[in-house]
């Protein structure tokens, strides 16, 4: 199961995404932003970071990259695509997901272990969860506030396209506490928190069991392996 991880100038969590894929049992493949080929991978991850320094708008310039042209096309044909943080911003700028992402309400970058609820499991990236699962995933961003028109929000809620919702604390003012979404088809998912930072015991969020032992993010990467097998 080959899963591509795109590196844009300024991508930061690409190596972490590759590690997460490996730990889940997949084979990570490095993809370069300037190459339009996605090397026949079975799925793609757009990792976190500050692609192009967040110039113009977060993810705006990355969305125009040659590799994105291919990914947008393939996503339309059902290729599973996961956008994490900056990757989520790129998905929104590419119009693969609706809405927009703006500056955090409190104007500060915030890094915290965030509680989430899994709202929808009918997607390539959440099928390994149970609906209603409560998980803890590290969140770290300055521009993570999800906004959308009333109409869009109604549609999202109505069709169950919200995949993750913030619990206990809304860290960035996102509307409806939306932490992540999927598209109608269920192959494209974007989320602000970083599941790739909760995959290896000893390096994830604290858990009641032990310091830094949280690995709730692993299921996201395991999900796509399930969906690729069944594809």
């Amino acid at each position: 199961m080959k899963i591509g991880v795109v590196t844009f100038p300024g991508s930061l969590d690409d190596r972490d995404a590759a590690r997460a894929i490996r730990l889940a049992g997949g084979e990570p493949v490095s993809l370069w932003h300037a190459d339009s080929s996605i090397k026949k991978v079975d799925a793609v991850v757009l990792p976190g970071g500050f692609s192009y320094g967040d110039y113009l708008r977060c993810g705006a310039i990355a969305a125009q990259a040659p590799v994105m042209k291919t990914i947008i096309k393939k996503a339309g044909e059902g290729l599973p695509v996961l956008g994490i943080c900056n990757g989520f911003q790129i998905l929104v700028e590419s119009h693969l997901l609706p809405g927009g992402l703006i500056r955090n309400e409190k104007q500060h970058f915030v890094c915290r272990d965030q509680k989430l609820r899994v709202e929808n499991v009918d997607s390539a990236w959440t099928n390994a969860f149970q609906k209603g699962d409560e998980i803890t995933i590290p969140l770290k961003n300055g521009e993570g506030g999800y906004i959308a028109t009333e109409e869009t929000l109604k549609m999202l809620e109505g069709e169950g396209l919200v995949t993750f919702r913030y619990l206990e604390v809304n860290p960035n003012g996102s509307m409806h506490d939306i932490a992540g979404l999927r598209n109608e088809r269920g192959n494209v998912v974007g989320l602000m928190p970083h599941p790739e930072h909760a995959v290896e015991p000893g390096f994830g969020p604290d858990s009641p069991v032990a310091m830094r032992s949280g690995v709730d993010g692993l299921k996201i990467f395991q999900s796509v392996l399930n969906s690729v097998i069944s594809a």
């Binding site: 100038p9 300024g10 930061l12 969590d13 190596r15 972490d16 590690r19 300037a34 970071g49 500050f50 192009y52 320094g53 967040d54 110039y55 500060h108 970058f109 915030v110 890094c111 915290r112 590290p138 770290k140 970083h194 790739e196 930072h197 995959v199 290896e200 000893g202 390096f203 604290d206 032990a210 310091m211 830094r212």
Partner: protein, 760 residues
């Protein structure tokens, strides 16, 4: 543009030159004329003035820094791949891997423009690490601000934290720890020190030298602009007058995205073997890079300054030479590798320009078009700058300060008033210096890279270097200006002891030292005395502990008018751990464990947080340090951790046992029942000392019941005093027998509220 050329300098020998305005002294100017056999051109004058400034030449500190290189045994040097003198020290950690680390200051720019000052401070230290051939893997920051309630403090705090957050996060470097201290002595002179660490394989090491004639000199990265012109010599060698910052624009502006791209580009260049030598451009920009590369290589250079890619075409040659535009590197590239070099930088869309080449002469030759504007021996610029032996004088107030101890003053203690004593406990741990720092650290990314094993609130930061074996390194940085004001020699040793102890409590073995020496004006003989004492104390201490100083930084002129900051030498200790899985958390998480206090508690409240918070007092002598004992204590903990006997360990330092207990119960919300009567009896101290004394050589450790016997046995065998003072208990409370019981939620509320209330 009228260009002052070498030819002109011979023709117009008696031209008036603004050497004083550029920060040079008359004898230094005469010295330059002697070296060149003529007056310098204005470009040469600019170069010498910047490179001979305090910040670049270390002219006032060199004679004392020598001790770090001299007070070293062969045994201490065995792990050193690169010692002092290079961009950063490099330490062998085993398995063919090495780490390079260093701490640096960016104090003055951070007072003038806190955001950019702090941001570019991070940028600068990361580039130093990169130039050693290493991938930067983490950062730490040591911040000292003025009085918390002073409105100007908030301005600096917000700017600095935003700046570090902005730059460090954007580079993808986890922030694994540091310090934040508030004291009115830093009001007009905040201290912003930044540390970075990088990892490399032994064979990847790069040095900043140009040693083969014919190799090309290439400047790449960001374009050169007017950033920080004269910043280095003018700013760092100038103290602020009491009305505030007088100059605005001499601050560099950073772009972390450009630096991130530069990091990836450089690492690819290194891996491809294109680069024979590399230097980053920081203070003194091109002047520094060219002269240092040439001097280190024992060769010369010929450079065409017009080839420098500019942001601003109106810059004069002098300005180009002095510019401190960020995110630039200078590489020495053998001609045969030029093609490969170009291919890689083009792929990363990084701009570059071939400025010239390495030559066999012992001269640095710089042309502006057809005119020669610089012709100097590189060593005289880069390494053979002035060396001062400044006057040193014991401060007139020192004896009186030392006599004015807590006990001599008879400062009241609440021993017999349980309510007051309990209230002092909460007051002290919630005071700004002791309170929870999450307000700051939550603005830093600690996850990126996926290798952070320990970070704030742990006592040391720890990073995994090898994913295959778990090999990792731990780092702690510590300083205490109050102790140093009382006794700079002991104060430096205390900082070293604390950093050493913090690394030991993480389970790692201390290996090497870096330092950032923040002091007042070297033209003040009393400050110079403090500097001499502190450096000697640190060098002696390192010799005693058997760990060498690998490099560091000096920041002088931290004073407003005549009032200097407290001498504040920041000491960073690096340790190695064979497998980060063995790391020891600072706080306990398990119920029913025994809590042990290692070491002896004495009545040592001089300079303590207690004396500051309760009595607003500073006087007497700081706690005594026994480095031989610290060494044994560290070895004990190492041995115990190898056997898996220790569930948690934290050192005792500022605010003593009170602080250690508070942090231990709040981190994982695991309460404890503690008793201090036995402690008071065994060590002959009162309750105030038991709770708040800052005696050294102590650790608070929790041990699982099944490991008790073994652990105590180990301590006894190694002659380490050990006393059981409590048990962990999931009651949601911290109980200190005969003193108080606090609900963890309430204690936490106080502890976490302080910084958001002040700076929210």
């Amino acid at each position: 543009m009228i260009i002052d050329t070498v030819k002109q300098s011979k023709k117009e020998a008696d031209k008036e030159q603004p050497w004083a305005a550029l920060g040079l002294k008359e004898d230094e100017y005469e010295s330059i004329k002697e070296i060149l056999g003529r007056r310098p051109t204005s470009s040469e004058l600019a170069m010498y003035s910047v490179m001979w400034s305090e910040h670049c030449s270390y002219k006032s500190s060199k004679i004392y820094l020598r001790q770090f290189g001299e007070k070293v045994t062969p045994e201490m040097k065995q792990h050193l791949l690169v010692g002092m003198g290079e961009n950063a020290g490099v330490v062998d950690i085993g398995e063919g891997l090495a780490v390079t680390f260093k701490v640096e200051s960016h104090n003055h720019p951070s007072y003038i423009e806190p955001f950019q000052g702090a941001a570019t401070g991070i940028g600068g230290i990361v580039r130093d690490i990169l130039t050693m051939g290493a991938r930067p893997i983490a950062v730490m920051d040591q911040l000292r601000f003025g009085a918390p309630e002073n409105p100007d403090t908030a301005r600096v705090v917000h700017g600095v934290v935003d700046g570090i957050s902005f730059y460090g996060n954007c580079l993808g470097l986890p922030n694994i720890g540091g310090e934040t201290v508030f004291d009115k002595v830093y009001q007009g002179n905040p201290l912003v020190n930044a540390l970075s660490i990088g990892a490399l394989k032994h064979g990847d090491l790069k040095l900043a030298k140009a040693d083969k004639a014919g190799d090309l000199v290439i400047l790449f990265g960001a374009r050169t602009g007017a950033d920080g012109i004269g910043g280095v010599s003018v700013l760092a060698s100038e103290t602020f007058d009491a009305d505030g910052p007088s100059r605005r624009p001499a601050v560099q502006v950073g772009d972390p995205f450009a630096e991130k791209v530069l990091i990836e580009c450089c690492l690819e260049l290194f891996a491809a073997g294109c680069v024979a030598g590399i230097q980053d451009l920081g203070g003194a920009g091109i002047s520094c890079a060219t002269s240092e590369l040439a001097s280190n290589g024992g060769k010369g250079m010929k450079v065409q300054l017009k080839k420098v890619l500019l942001r601003d075409e109106s810059l004069t040659p002098e300005e180009i030479l002095m510019s401190e535009s960020q995110e630039r590197m200078m590489a020495i590239v053998p001609k045969k590798h030029l093609r490969a070099f170009k291919k890689i930088v083009d792929r990363h869309e990084v701009e570059y320009s071939v400025l010239g080449k390495v030559i066999n002469k012992d001269r640095l030759l710089i042309n502006w078009g057809k005119q020669e504007i610089v012709n100097v021996p590189p060593r005289t610029v880069a390494h053979d700058g002035p060396v001062y032996e400044r006057p040193v004088e014991l401060p007139k107030w020192q004896a009186a300060l030392n006599a004015d101890s807590v006990n001599a003053r008879g400062l009241a203690r609440a021993n017999d008033n349980t309510t007051d004593l309990a209230a002092q406990f909460v007051q002290i741990v919630s005071s700004p210096n002791q309170a929870d720092k999450s307000y700051i650290t939550a603005q830093y990314d600690r996850y990126v890279g996926g290798n952070t094993a320990l970070a704030y609130p742990d006592g040391a930061g720890m990073i995994r270097v090898s994913e295959e074996t778990g090999l990792g390194v731990a780092l702690s940085t510590d300083a205490n200006g109050r102790y140093c004001q009382l006794d700079p020699y002991q104060g430096a040793r205390l900082a070293l002891a604390e950093a050493y102890r913090n690394v030991a409590t993480s389970g790692a073995k201390p290996l090497a030292v870096t330092n950032c020496l923040n002091f007042g004006s070297p033209e003040n003989p009393e400050v110079m005395w403090q500097f001499k004492q502190a450096t000697t104390g640190l060098a002696d201490g390192c010799l005693e502990l058997g760990i060498p100083v690998t490099g560091g930084n000096v920041s002088f002129y931290n004073q407003t008018g005549d009032v200097a900051i407290f001498p504040t030498p920041v000491v960073g200790v690096l340790g190695v751990i064979d497998d980060v899985a063995r790391r020891i958390p600072s706080s306990w998480q398990d119920e029913g464990n025994n809590i042990y206090l290692l070491g002896i508690t004495k009545d040592e409240l001089d300079g303590s947080v207690w004396s500051e918070v309760v009595h607003d007092h500073l006087g007497g002598k700081p706690p005594v340090v026994d480095l031989e004992f610290e060494r044994r204590l560290a070895e004990l903990l190492h041995g115990a951790s190898l056997q898996g006997l220790v569930a948690s360990a934290t050192d005792l330092s500022e605010a003593g046992l009170a602080q250690a207990l508070t942090e231990s119960v709040l981190r994982f919300n695991m309460g404890a029942r503690v008793w201090i009567t036995e402690l008071c009896e065994r060590d002959g101290v009162d309750r105030t000392s038991a709770l708040f004394s800052e005696s050294t050589g102590r650790m608070l450790v929790s041990v699982g019941r099944e490991d008790d016997v073994k652990f105590v046995g180990l301590c006894d065998a190694r002659n380490i005093p050990v006393l059981r003072i409590g048990v962990t208990d999931n009651t949601g409370e911290l109980e200190i027998q005969d003193l108080a019981t606090w609900k963890l939620d309430e204690l936490r509320s106080s502890w976490v509220a302080t910084l958001p209330e002040l700076f929210g």
